[in-house]
Structure formats: structure tokens, C-alpha cells
Amino acid sequence: MQHEALIREPLILGNKTIHDITEDICRPIESKPTKSWWFAFILSATCLLWWVVCVSYTVGIGLGAWGLNNVVDWGWDITNFVWWVGIGHAGTLISAVLLLFRQKWRLSINRASEAMTIFAVICAASFLLTHIGRPWLPYWLLPLPNQFGSLWVNFNSPLVWDTFAVSTYFTVSLVFWYTGLIPDFAAIRDRAKTPQRKFWYGLLSFGWVGTAKNWQRFEEVSLVLAGMSTPLVLSVHTIVSMDFATSIVPGWHTTIFPPYFVAGAIFSGFAMVQTLLIITRKVMKLEAYITTLHIDMMNRIIMITGSIVGIAYITEFFIAWYSGVEYESYAFINRATGPYWWAYWAMMSCNVISPQLFWSSKLRTNITFTFFMSIVVNIGMWFERFVIIVTSLHRAYIPAQWSMYHPTWVEAGIYLGSIGLFFTLFLLFTKFFPVIAMSELKTIVHSSSLQTHREMRKNENHH
């Protein structure tokens, strides 16, 4: 039995028994959707519908419907792609990296954050597939034999690396998430009172029974998947950063990009997890499982990764000056003082100043402040990608080519629609799937719950 030091705060509050965990997590699945769920769902589904309209318009009319031009050929499309992929990284970090570091506080948040990862990567993939000009030929991204002499993809290109990386990341995250869901589906199946629920969750649970051998294999598979997902998380956003870093565009061609992007991804991802979980825990009454401690821990990670992003900014400026390369220096002068200065300063205030506020433990444990900050961080990270992409492209080496970029209503609609897609999927997840990893959370009731700590303290006092 793992004995916890009493100095640690309990991870499960409210005198919850193992049976309580099953009840609390299965109840939202077994009851009718609430009014607030319907309200949120109708809102998101409307945005999703708008996404369908705007994407259909783009596919029908062509990319001319967007504001891209010969100089700024990547605008909101790639900004949004990188934004969504970055958001997705937190889920894998929570499930994989925190597992390897034996951080038990991940257990009540890993399921929802992995779901977030999957939905975020779906949104990212939607941008990737809609921006390629001829979206009815997406299979051209794959090295398939063909009748063009067998014209293969260019493996030297980070865009091809992206294809492999993002598809591996998506499918591996999907199986990691699904495998973890199997024992929980089994719990819902066994409790099911209606024949439909019994059928569907019976199907989804693949006939799981928690025998010792099954759990042994399950634990090993989780550990190995975690061990593989960790380098995957790091490599995927590194490869995404190389879409920029391997070019010669001023402001892009810098070796700080891989660690900078990975830290930025974790930064924005955790902010999105905070946004989702603060609402979820309130609406679904899961405050005993997703406690202030969890919010605090996630804020610490936001603070650390936000600080790394800040250091990366400083590195960029320093090297732009120290290298003596006038194009690189101009790229940064233009960012701060050129026509997109407002985006740059929004980015700076949201990303550099805000995480430093989390040094205060009072602010770290304040739920309202955290919620507000999580939105601020995500806005800041969106502006970061926008600033990197657009300000570097719109004024590169040849002044005669300098242009401006203005997104059209179609691009704005696709972005809003992708947020609708994300929340629609997430709301469906909260309605039909267990939001917390039940079977995993049950493992810490006897070591890290409030009542166990109370008992341990009592025993301690008797010595």
C-alpha cells in the first residue's frame, strides 16, 4: 500500500467512497441532458453549421474566397492549425508525461483532457485539409504508388513530416484514450438499466472484465503508450515548428522554434484544459474530484511554460540583434512598430505578463481569476501564431513585394466554426462518455482521499 505523506493535500475531497465515484461519474450519462447542456450544444452546433457553410463555400469557390495573396500565402488558416495542434498537446502531456512522473493528481483530469486533445487535433486537421487548394485530393499527401511515374512525396519537406507526425499523434492519442475508456464503459454497461444503454456500452466496452491478467496487460499498455506518447508530443510540435524554422523567411529561420513551440503548445493547451474543466466541474458537480489543488497544479505548469515562452522571446530578440542580420532585426522592429503592432502587443501582454501573475498562490487557487486568465492565454497564443506567420511573410526580403493581409468573412467563419466543432464534440463527450477516468481514480481513494488523510492523522496522533 502506498503511504502518502500527510503534508500532501488530499486529491479526493468530500468523504467519497469508491461507489460514490461510480455514481457521480455515471449519473450525468444516465440522466437526461440539462438545460445548460442543451443551451451550450445548440450554440456550438450552430457554429458548426456555419463551419459547414463556410468550408463548402471555400471548396466550391476556391481559396480566392480567403484573404491570402502571393506574398502572405499563410494567414488565418495556418495560424488556426498551429493554435489547435498546440492546444491538443496538453491532453497527451497530462496523460503521458504526468504518468511517467507518477503525479497522481492527473487521474481526475486526464480523461477530459485527452478528449480535448482528440477534438483539438480534429479541428487542426480540418484546417490542414481545407487549406490545400484541392481538398478533394488529400491522399496526395501520402506516399502512395500512382500513375505519375510514381511521383513520391518530398520527404525532405516538413510539410510531409507534418503529415506523418499529426496522423501518428492523432491515431495514437485516440487509441490511448479509447483503451483507457474500456473499463469505464464496462462499468456503465453493468449498471445499465435500459436495453439501449446496455447494448451500446456493451459494444463500446469490448466485453471487458477486470480480471487480474487483463489489468496487468492494461497497465503495461498504458505505461508503454505513455512512454511513446511523450516523445510523440515533443516531436509533433517540433515538426510543426519546423514548417517555419526550416525556411529562410526572416523571423522564422531560427533554431529556438522547436522548444519555443513545444512550450507554447503546453502553455495554451493547459489554458484550454482550465477553461473546459472549470466549467465542467461546476456544471457536473465534480468539485470533489477536480479540486483547487488540481487547478493550482495546472496553473503552475502554465506559469512555467509561459515563462519558457518569455525566455524564447528574449532569445529571439537577442539573436536578431547579435547576429547582425538586418533582415532578422527588421522583422522584429516591424512586429513591434509596423502595421500589425496591435497584434504584437496583445500577444506580449497576454503571454508574458499574465503567467507571471501565477507566482502568487492566492491567484493560483482563485477559480474565477484562473478562468479569466485561461481565456487571456489562449487569445495571446492565437496572436503569437498570427504575429509569427503574418508579420514575417508580409514584409520579407524584397520591399517591392511588401503587402498587407486581411482575412475575409469566410476565414473568420471557418475559425468560429472550428470552435463550434470543438465544443460540439466536447459536449457530446460530456453527455455520453465518463468525463473522469473512474477506474483509475478509484485506485487512489484508499491513499489520497480526505477521509484516509483524516484517519492517518488520527493514527499519527495516537503514537
Binding site: 510514381s150 513520391w152 520527404f155 501518428t168 495514437v172 490511448f176 477486470g210 487480474a212 496487460r217 485506485t443
Partner: protein, 174 residues
């Protein structure tokens, strides 16, 4: 004729510590079914180590080899092209560019190969019916499955299970 009785426990510690003494007293423990993984249960039951991670490694090596073969064939052997003057006469000259793809392919094959093997070996497939006669198996109780051959052994096993902390001893139909 062998049938099974099931001892129902609430505390996983009790279950873990009772396995060895129960076996010493002649109780044939076949399995322990729990709603959550119990650390050390496989060791306590004497289960062999799972070889699934070895499988994963082998699948990973397969992915590694396939990706090397693919990138060599496509970029060096079949249709090498002058892309920005990058050297492509030999595989080793161009291999730094291929590392991301080779890495991703390794992880892809390792992960999916392992998970598919896990599902097949544990017989986890859509449509498989689970034998969970008691809803508490996936809720909050730990259930020890004991094999008994006749009424006498059933009596003694039952009594021993209760002695070691079982709250109930039940028999479920097939």
C-alpha cells in the same frame, strides 16, 4: 465437476494479503476481479509477466525498418530529385531529413501493433459478451474467484474466505 465460488471484498489490501495464506490452506484461487487495477495483484497471484511490451518493441522495430526502406526506395533509389541541391546519392547523406518520418513510423507501428495485440490477446472486441454476473465487479468490490470440487471443499473455502475478510461468498450461475 468444478465450479466457482466468489468471495466479495471491499479492501484491496485484505485481498492482496490473503492470497498466500489462503493458497497455503489449499484454497484454489483462480482469479481476482476488480473494478480498478490493484498494484502488485499480478505478482501476488503468481501471474507471468506480460510480454506485450516486448511485442511493442518488435512492432516498433518493424516500423523503423519499413520507414527506412520506404524513404530509401522513394527518395534515393526510385526517383531521386534535385530538391534545393540536397545530397541524395546515398541514403546516409539524406538521412537527417528522414528522421522525423522514421521516428513517427516507429511510434505508429509500435503503438497500434501493441494495442491490437492487447485487444486480441485479451479477447476485447466489439460484440464480445462480458461475464459480469454482479454489477459490483465493475463498481466497488474486489471479487476473488475460487474453484471448488465438492460440497466439502466449498464449505471450507467459504469459511476461509470469510475468515480472511470476505463480506459475502456467492455463487453465480453460468
Amino acid at each position: 465437476m468444478s465450479k466457482f465460488i466468489f468471495g466479495i471484498f471491499s479492501d484491496e489490501e485484505k485481498v492482496m494479503h490473503s492470497i498466500a495464506p489462503l493458497r497455503a490452506k489449499g484454497v484454489v484461487i483462480k482469479d481476482v476481479i476488480s473494478p480498478f487495477p490493484i498494484h502488485g495483484m499480478d505478482h501476488a497471484l503468481g501471474l507471468a509477466r506480460t510480454r506485450i511490451s516486448i511485442c511493442s518493441f518488435l512492432y516498433g522495430m518493424t516500423g523503423f525498418g519499413l520507414a527506412i526502406l520506404m524513404t530509401w526506395y522513394m527518395m534515393i533509389s526510385d526517383w531521386p530529385m534535385d530538391i534545393g541541391g540536397k545530397p541524395n546519392w546515398y541514403f546516409y547523406q539524406n538521412v537527417p531529413a528522414f528522421i522525423p518520418v522514421i521516428f513517427e513510423s516507429t511510434i505508429f507501428c509500435a503503438a497500434h501493433g501493441m494495442v491490437i495485440t492487447f485487444y486480441l490477446r485479451s479477447k476485447l472486441l466489439p460484440g464480445v459478451t462480458a461475464y459480469t454476473p454482479d454489477v459490483r465487479m465493475t463498481d466497488d468490490k474486489i471479487i476473488m474467484k475460487v474453484e471448488v470440487t465438492d460440497a466439502a471443499s466449498e464449505q471450507s473455502a467459504s469459511a476461509l474466505l470469510r475468515e480472511f475478510g470476505a463480506e459475502e461468498v456467492k455463487e453465480y450461475g453460468k
